[in-house]
Symmetry: C5
Subunit: 93 residues, 5 copies
Amino acid sequence: MQLGTVIGNVWATRKEDNLRGLKFLIVQPELPDGTSTETPYIAIDRIGAGFGDKVMVTKGSAASKIEPNLSIPIDAIIIGIIDSVDVEGDNCG
Amino acid sequence: MQLGTVIGNVWATRKEDNLRGLKFLIVQPELPDGTSTETPYIAIDRIGAGFGDKVMVTKGSAASKIEPNLSIPIDAIIIGIIDSVDVEGDNCG
Amino acid sequence: MQLGTVIGNVWATRKEDNLRGLKFLIVQPELPDGTSTETPYIAIDRIGAGFGDKVMVTKGSAASKIEPNLSIPIDAIIIGIIDSVDVEGDNCG
Amino acid sequence: MQLGTVIGNVWATRKEDNLRGLKFLIVQPELPDGTSTETPYIAIDRIGAGFGDKVMVTKGSAASKIEPNLSIPIDAIIIGIIDSVDVEGDNCG
Amino acid sequence: MQLGTVIGNVWATRKEDNLRGLKFLIVQPELPDGTSTETPYIAIDRIGAGFGDKVMVTKGSAASKIEPNLSIPIDAIIIGIIDSVDVEGDNCG
């Protein structure tokens, strides 16, 4: 899973039918120390994340495994809102 | 999911059988502010996207999860046509 | 899906049992304008692609979704032989 | 699978329901010789890995294949704690 | 699929239960002409590959599709030992 911060959201009226009602947020991926890495992407949110929240995101087809037998075409979902990150070692001081 | 703009399309008469009737568009991936990132790729479209539309694309095997039990070899699908993108923060001004 | 050109093939007598009889081609990924991108990889072909053909490739586990309930360990398949690519915009001239 | 070292952990009280009880560790990906590569990410651990342990991580949707029919949205799991790595060749000394 | 050479192996006594008995090799990814690309990773081997063998590797969750209904958390498997690679074109001489 990837760490990141919610930096925006996306509105799309016309979309694939089985995506109605879902919330689409923009996430900026980050290192454990908060430095930005890579480019931002869109992730589904079902746990109430908002602007500025530090989150944990699952990417790829695993993102749709939120319910057994669910079949929705999403490739990123916010799975947790971070309370704290503890890091030892020389990479993320 | 990734933001992007539809910049073209692809015609292929000879293809895997279960892909007949699908529309293949070329999408240029973009940052929330519209800057191009990475190289363009081909995505399926079922919601009527056209040249110049800002879209949201699901990549990977999740792309085929548009119907339960559907089995088609596609790895990118346009899942929404973007109305608006709201971004706060220093990455996507 | 990714655009590319077939540039070679691979022979392997010893392989996983459920891959017998499949054809393994080497594909050079390309931009819509034909410029090479990334490194070449191996893709399965079932539609008769040959040296020099412009093709469309599905990557990742979606590649095995060519038949319902098929279970084969492949991560790239040629899904179409390109007739033409139409592109507008400043990235792919 | 990827080699890496456990360098930290993540706490998240609010998360997707089916992730309760799981342990989230931060892994720094490494080459066989111990050199860091890429940026750290979060992986589930069920085998008792701790700070400083050399581990083997499965990434992508395969990470949830730890039990038949399990449906959880995770994209990285520690599958082994490394005893030793033997390498020949010029890349990894 | 990716070309590569087996350059080592990994021993791990403590691992996820359903991975017991599997062989873990280190593969250096290569271009068709043998040049190294990217960083080495760990792949499962069931066909008897050894040090120095040129192999073909399937990556991602497709790697576990070696048996119907098999559920194991692996993301790379050696699917063939290469007899020969034939390439035309200017990328891989």
